[in-house]
């Protein structure tokens, strides 16, 4: 059994560098397994850092290490996903699901009560067990100062719960990406399967019917250069962020941009000059066409 070294404090890359280095890695060292403690740390980060409405925490993950499953199971899971190259090469697959039962009114009320007892949903703002029951169970109108839970939770259909569970799990998977980068790993989100073949994944992984598929996270040591060809194309800042109203672009200060370039958040855009030569050699290494 692996023993985690106790005397060495955990040191991650700084936050801006982690965010700046985050990009979808699709070429992995297929021969290098990922240490179990790194996988655990990714999951621990998600558990603690991910936010969700009412603290419902619908995310569920099934970690699959390719080296620990049968060739037949591997083949079935890959076929369900159309044999995608990155999927085939990543040593670890984390399947992310949202449990719609967590987004049902009863579960929401239970989590809300926990928040009240934890001192996170304060009485000063109007929260109490009685208020939670009135809003969620009886569908009463919310008093001023509290969210109108009646309209979003009272008697909601399963489809709406599924949508909420899915959306919140997508956020969790994004946190997992950053956690993986912080571990020095390459990572990427992709479809867990073609929708028509999702049943194969459910069957192979023993997933309950109430779990809604969100993402498949590929994890492994990257075989690409550390910059992985540069930061992917991003929409201009002023086209996506606004202030005051949706017509006024958020004013971007050049000095902040320079600061973030130095901190490692803003890096050279893709493709870097040698990117396609790198892709050519990666294709040769693994046996893919270009």
């Amino acid at each position: 059994m692996a023993v985690v070294e106790q005397s060495r404090p955990l040191v991650g890359t700084n936050f801006y560098q982690v965010c700046g280095k985050r990009r979808s890695i699709r070429w992995f060292k297929t021969w290098k397994p990922v240490e179990r403690e790194r996988l655990q740390r990714i999951l621990e980060v998600v558990r603690v850092a991910t936010s969700s409405p009412g603290n419902i925490q619908p995310w569920r993950a099934v970690v699959v290490e390719q080296s620990k499953i049968s060739p037949e199971k591997r083949e079935r899971l890959l076929r369900a996903d159309n044999m995608q190259g990155g999927h085939a090469g990543a040593p670890v697959w984390i399947y992310w699901f949202g449990d719609l039962e967590c987004a049902q009114p009863a579960a929401f009320k239970q989590r809300l009560r926990e928040l009240i007892r934890a001192g996170a949903a304060p009485t000063s703002h109007g929260w109490s067990d009685e208020v939670a029951e009135a809003l969620i169970d009886r569908g009463e109108e919310a008093p001023e100062g509290l969210p109108e839970l009646r309209e979003i939770l009272h008697g909601i259909p399963l489809e709406a719960s599924a949508a909420v569970a899915h959306a919140e799990t997508v956020g969790a998977a994004d946190i997992a990406l950053l956690a993986a980068v912080n571990e020095g790993l390459g990572t990427c989100l992709c479809m867990p399967a073609a929708p028509s073949r999702m049943g194969v994944v459910r069957e192979e992984l023993g997933v309950p019917e109430t779990w809604v598929p969100a993402w498949l996270q590929l994890v492994g040591y990257p075989v690409e250069e550390s910059d992985a060809g540069g930061q992917r194309p991003k929409l201009p800042f002023e086209e996506i962020f606004f202030e005051g109203d949706a017509r006024t672009p958020f004013r971007r200060q050049p000095e902040v941009v320079r600061e973030l370039e130095q901190a490692g958040l803003l890096q050279a855009p893709a493709p870097t000059p040698d990117r396609f030569e790198e892709l050519k050699r990666l294709a040769q290494l693994f046996g893919y066409p270009i």
Partner: protein, 116 residues
Amino acid sequence: MSRGADLLAYVSVRRWISSVDGLYHLTHQEWHLRLSILDEFCSSLGEDPDHVISASRLDREAKVEYMRRLKHLTGERYPEPRTAHEAQNVVRSFFIHNGARVLTTPFPPPQGAGGG
């Protein structure tokens, strides 16, 4: 049936070269090798490149049959499996850049490295 440089007369071949070179900038030597492999494949079929692509795009079964014959040809022509696979990839590239999706199974992982 060998066309050699005549391959360049075909739209699908010009599209292939243009699309690949738009990203990868292959050398003349690399293209010479790639064109000779494509030429050999088309000659073995007795069909021209444009027809191979149009048939593949119209009929999935035809595409599957082309891939089967490609594996057969390269298996005979190149005894070393890796070389045969690389030759297949040249033709797969021709298909992909002409919009005919084909599946590539990568090289197996090194011994003892697990499944992936």
